[in-house]
Amino acid sequence: MEGKLLRRQFLKMLGAGVVSAWGFPGLASAQSPVLLSKPIPSSGESLPVIGMGTWRTFNVGNDPELLAARTQVLKAFFASGGGLVDSSPMYGSAADTLGFALKQLGIPRTLFSAEKVWSPAGGTTREQVTSLAERWGLKTFDLVQVHNLDDWQEHLAVLRELKASGVIRYLGITTSHGRRHQEFEQVVASTEIDFAQMTYNITHREVEARLLPLAKERGVAVIANRPYDGGSLIKGLKRREKVPAWAAEEFGCRTWADFLLKFIVSHPAVNCAIPATSRVEHMNENMAAGAAPLPDAKTRQKMVAYIESL
């Protein structure tokens, strides 16, 4: 309990702009930029704007070499003040890899663990949460989400009980690739949830029209998945283009990771983007993108126009 309070206090300090690298003593670099954070609407707790996804990248089986390599990636994430780590039972061994890495590193105070429950529910929601927590090496999770709205009514009912009894702190729903937006919108509009995870990046902006404003209005925190469109977006840009000079002048953009991630997290309704990577240097790039300054609304329009012109 004391540890939880200390963590909450710490996260509030982040919200006040304190350097988040304090969360992982001994790992923070003196040159770490200040990672911005935003408050979770339902609690006011601050969450760093750059999180971490684990789809494909942390599914490494039981290979000792690859487990050690992913531990270094997670270490770099926390060293930069990272918080939210998102996984899913459909990501193969990702939960076990996180468990391995967290055992090596210890549980950082900044960790905001986010998992998912999936289909078929069939009365297994509690069992799924317990099993996943064991794989992570945690007692419970900060956030549990219903994966792709699978059996969402049954799952959410149980997750509400878990939240009420203090087993989890937040609950939410997810979608990706623009799937089932109509149903997703109905759930956000009519149900009490803390988080909504959806695909949002500079080339996939459908959610700007309805879902993001609705989440803002309903006080639901938004996690943006597929910030690099599964990797193809940033790979293509890195291969073909240089970061435009005006972006560096207007919002300190040095890399394509800066360009793409700052675009996402500068949207007023978005709390956190969750790029996934298996490489430490890419993790450092991602985390650097969470530092101020962020582009304003006018610059965001310019960014979209630029990408569309390529």
């Binding site: 599914n59 490494v60 193969g92 690739h177 623009g178 937006h181 599964g230």
Partner: protein, 227 residues
């Protein structure tokens, strides 16, 4: 947007290239020098099939399918992909089918057709599986421990078996036994395409040539029987 239209092949491949190829490499490291024995088994099965000893050839292949089903799919691939357990059982079921066909002799071919176009195609496909996969290692300038070998790894095992089934079996038994290797080869080719492995096209080519040859042979058989 239609939900199914939003899916791409990469959405069904939950691991990255380095992880998959490292798993193949560890498989080779773990079981070395078993590869030499399994390669010999593959060559022997091919020669037996060509000499009309189809039932013995099928019996030689059955334990190989069990081994790959357990050691590769159930114990390793399933760590990366939930479908691994199912594939493991499918490979074991295929081994049971081979034992059944070997025991009953139903659907097996005799030596009289050994120079048919279908048999020549079967030999070529088997040789691709026996030789091309191990030789990818030196061609791609990687370690021999990364070589994929018949009897240990599913791609060469599926390809060699497919070729041997084309020689050793006829009719419904041939189609039935070829189904699993054809499906795996196609699935693997799609996976390798996502992982940007340069030889994914060769697997598609093997599947296409095999299906073309099987259809051609079925038409000849139907024409001969006057149907």
């Amino acid at each position: 947007m239609s939900e199914w239209n939003s899916y791409q092949i990469q959405d069904f491949v939950p691991f990255s290239a380095d992880v998959y190829f490292r798993m193949l490499e560890r498989m080779g490291e773990t079981f070395w020098p078993l590869q030499l024995f399994t390669l010999a088994v593959g060559v022997a099965a091919l020669l037996l099939a060509l000499r009309g000893k189809s039932r013995v050839a099928l019996l030689l292949l059955a334990p190989v399918w069990v081994f790959v089903g357990v050691a590769f799919f159930a114990q390793r691939y399933a760590n990366l992909n939930w479908i691994g357990q199912i594939l493991g059982w499918v490979w074991i079921a295929q081994a049971a089918l081979l034992v059944l066909l070997a025991a009953t002799g139903r659907g097996t071919a005799g030596p009289v057709e050994s120079h048919s176009a279908n048999n020549i195609t079967g030999v070529l496909i088997s040789l691709v599986g026996l030789l091309m996969f191990p030789l990818l290692a030196p061609v791609l300038d990687t370690s021999w421990t990364q070589a994929e070998v018949f009897g240990l790894h599913p791609d060469p095992t599926g390809v060699v078996s497919l070729g041997i089934f084309m020689i050793a079996l006829r009719g419904w038994a041939q189609w039935l036994t070829c189904l699993v290797p054809l499906l795996w080869i196609t699935l693997s080719a799609l996976t390798l395409q996502v992982l940007e492995a340069p030889w994914w096209g060769a697997l598609f080519a093997v599947a296409a040539v095999a299906v073309g040859s099987l259809i051609g042979q079925s038409r000849v058989v139907l024409a001969r029987s006057g149907r």
